[in-house]
């Protein structure tokens, strides 16, 4: 309550707030909006003016395959992340706060550990002679090593692991706001645990799932390190393709067009989500 009172004056003075935000807004304008416009310009002017870069991207089977791979991986990663993250988030939401903050700390810590280190660790774990394959063969579950690396399976495993915190954090926020008594009420109303989950808990947690899902999906679309290291050359994803176009092939026009498409898709998804879930619920009602 007192927090509300403390915040009220700043809300009343909101128009003045632009002054303080000016440095950040200038940075974003200079180093995001301007480059994006330059990117758009390059994509329709290089090597010659016209929409031929876009035509190439949509027309060529190789590129289409990269787009397909990218969306497939992002979709699968998002879906798996939601399923894996939900029980963790629920556990965190109903845990005693002291214990919860320890588990929370571990999750955050994994986020802060160097990305390359974690991805290389997965390479070691997933390779033909890696710990996972060897253990499975030793206990006799498989006779041949499973192909866990240099394919989309490897990419999915590695990416789900990287993305988990981005799903768990917004989801915990949403789940914590749900009164456990609501579920008891549902039970007494005659809802089986499954019914209570499907009809009450899941719909109530949708804003968190949507927020986390968007974050994971968009990050997955543009992810570079993990897909490159765990996916191998034949399973190239969009970010790697853009890097190759610009670094190796020096084809700025085509690379810019691909990057711009990625940006458009991201913005379209965000707009769609705002419509479906509502801006207030997405940002937690701030």
């Amino acid at each position: 309550m007192s927090g509300n009172l403390l915040h009220r004056p700043s809300i009343l003075r909101r128009p003045d707030g632009i002054g303080g935000a000016l440095p950040a807004l200038t940075l974003i304008a200079l180093f995001f909006v301007v480059p994006v416009l330059a990117l758009l310009l390059r994509s329709v002017t290089e090597p010659v003016p016209g929409l031929h870069n876009y035509a190439t991207l949509f027309g060529d089977g190789t590129y289409a395959r990269v787009f397909f791979n990218t969306f497939l991986v992002a979709t699968v990663v998002t879906a798996v992340t939601v399923v894996v993250a939900f029980p963790v988030a629920w556990m965190l939401a109903i845990m005693p706060p002291a214990l919860g903050s320890i588990v929370f700390g571990i999750i955050i810590l994994s986020m802060w550990t160097n990305l390359l280190t974690r991805t290389y660790a997965w390479m070691v774990l997933l390779q033909r002679t890696g710990v996972i394959n060897r253990t499975l063969m030793d206990i006799g579950l498989i006779s041949e090593p499973l192909p866990l690396i240099n394919n989309l399976t490897g990419v999915t495993i590695g990416m789900v692991y990287i993305m988990l915190p981005f799903m768990i954090l917004p989801l915990v926020g949403t789940l914590r706001a749900i009164d456990p008594m609501t579920l008891r009420a549902a039970a007494l109303c005659g809802a089986s645990p499954f019914d209570a989950f499907r009809r009450i808990l899941l719909p109530l947690s949708l804003p968190g799932i949507a927020a986390g899902g968007l974050m994971v999906f968009v990050m997955s679309l543009g992810y570079f390190v993990t897909p490159t290291l765990l996916g191998g050359i034949s399973n190239m994803m969009l970010a790697a393709m853009i890097a190759q176009m610009i670094q190796s092939l020096l084809n700025w026009g085509l690379g810019s067009a691909a990057a711009f498409i990625l940006l458009l898709v991201t913005m379209a998804l965000y707009a769609l989500q705002l419509r479906l879930v509502g801006a207030r619920r997405m940002t937690g009602g701030i």
Binding site: R184, A187, L188, G190, I200
Partner: protein, 359 residues
């Protein structure tokens, strides 16, 4: 003997070494409005949760029409419940909330719609079906919760301090609604509250809890007029406790000596006290009179403060022994004529309306 409708048998609930409920036994006839009254932590909510199935009792049993409920999970108990906090499903409209228990029971649409309309009219929210809970006041939300809890015609309705989040005026309004709904539906209600006025206003019977045990169970009148213990006497209504020495008891009528040396006889007493034993005499503030009537005992006091409250007068008086007592005689015309003398007054009470408790 006919089987009781709902029967709580030797119910005990321990959390580690702490026993929250000590072997509580109650029989509840069909259609009764029974209130569990008591201070917080007295075990009343724990008992209710055992009936709801949220907590498995350590020992004892809960029987509905002779069948044990303990092995039945919450969602199959077919019990209605209204909670202290607002537990409406925020993503569903009022009508969908009320329909929820019927939907999970896979009832046909026509029946669901008819029942929802019937329930919304029972709680007088007919025009609110399309709204979301967030757009309702606290009182309206609890009425929807009541409609949702009654939609599937449960044999028992549990209410866990449903009005504690509401302001006084709204509380009284919804109390009247609850009484009406109990009258109209005939559902058996178990109601938990720490508010004695609410308990007296609503219930057929009150079970007064203290430290995990039932101190007394009976009608509001029983508890008020015939309190079984000093705790009951002080929890229900207001009381004055005067130190008194027990002289003798003959045929349930005690003679005592008060601190100022005056001897009072005719005090109702069914306890065993020895001669000279220290006891406490309980007199309700409203049992005092400013004029002696028939068979009244006098008490010499000094008036410290008097105030007029319409139906009652309130006097703070000090006894010769220096004890402050609360005196609230009625202020009807006959009494009003008495006037109030500022000093050296006597007040009077009927010994038969006073009780003797161990010191």
């Amino acid at each position: 003997m006919t089987k009781p409708f709902l029967s709580i048998r030797d119910l005990r609930k321990a959390f580690g070494g702490f026993v929250a409920v000590h072997d509580v036994t109650i029989d509840i006839p069909k259609g009764e409005f029974l209130t569990f009254l008591g201070p917080s932590g007295s075990g009343k909510s724990t008992t209710l949760y055992a009936i709801a199935g949220f907590q498995q009792p350590t020992s004892g049993d809960v029987l509905l029409e002779g069948r044990s409920l303990l092995s039945v999970p919450s969602h199959k108990r077919n019990i209605g419940m209204v909670f202290q906090r607002y537990t409406l499903f925020q993503h569903l409209t009022v009508a969908e909330n009320v329909a929820f228990p019927l939907r999970v029971r896979r009832r046909p649409d026509a029946e669901v719609n008819r029942k929802v309309a019937e329930m919304l009219s029972l709680v007088r929210l007919e025009s609110f079906g399309g709204r979301y809970p967030g757009a309702l006041s606290g009182g309206q939300q609890q009425r929807v919760a009541l409609a949702r809890a009654l939609a599937y015609d449960p044999p028992i309705l549990l209410m866990d301090e449903p009005l504690s989040a509401l302001d006084k005026k709204l509380r009284e309004e919804i109390q009247a609604e609850i009484r009406r709904i109990h009258r109209e539906t005939g559902v058996t209600i178990l109601y938990v509250t720490h508010d004695q006025d609410e308990a007296l206003h609503l219930s057929d019977r009150i079970a007064l809890f203290r430290d995990g045990r039932i101190e007394q169970i009976g009608t509001g009148e029983d508890l008020y007029l015939r309190p079984a213990s000093e705790f009951v006497a002080s929890f229900i209504g207001n009381s004055n406790f005067l130190p008194a020495e027990h002289l003798e008891t003959v045929n349930g009528s005690a003679t005592i000596r008060l601190a100022d040396g005056s001897v009072v006889s005719g005090v109702r007493n069914d306890r065993e006290f020895s001669q000279g034993q220290k006891t406490r005499l309980m007199v309700r503030p409203e049992a005092f009179r400013l004029r002696p009537g028939a068979a009244t005992a006098g008490l010499a006091v000094e008036f410290i403060d008097t105030a007029f409250f319409g139906e009652r007068r309130r006097v703070i008086a000090r006894t010769a022994a220096g004890q402050e007592i609360d005196v609230r005689p009625t202020s009807d015309m006959a009494q009003a004529q008495e006037g109030i003398a500022p000093r050296g007054q006597q007040i009077f009470f009927d010994p038969a309306a006073a009780f003797l408790f161990p010191a």
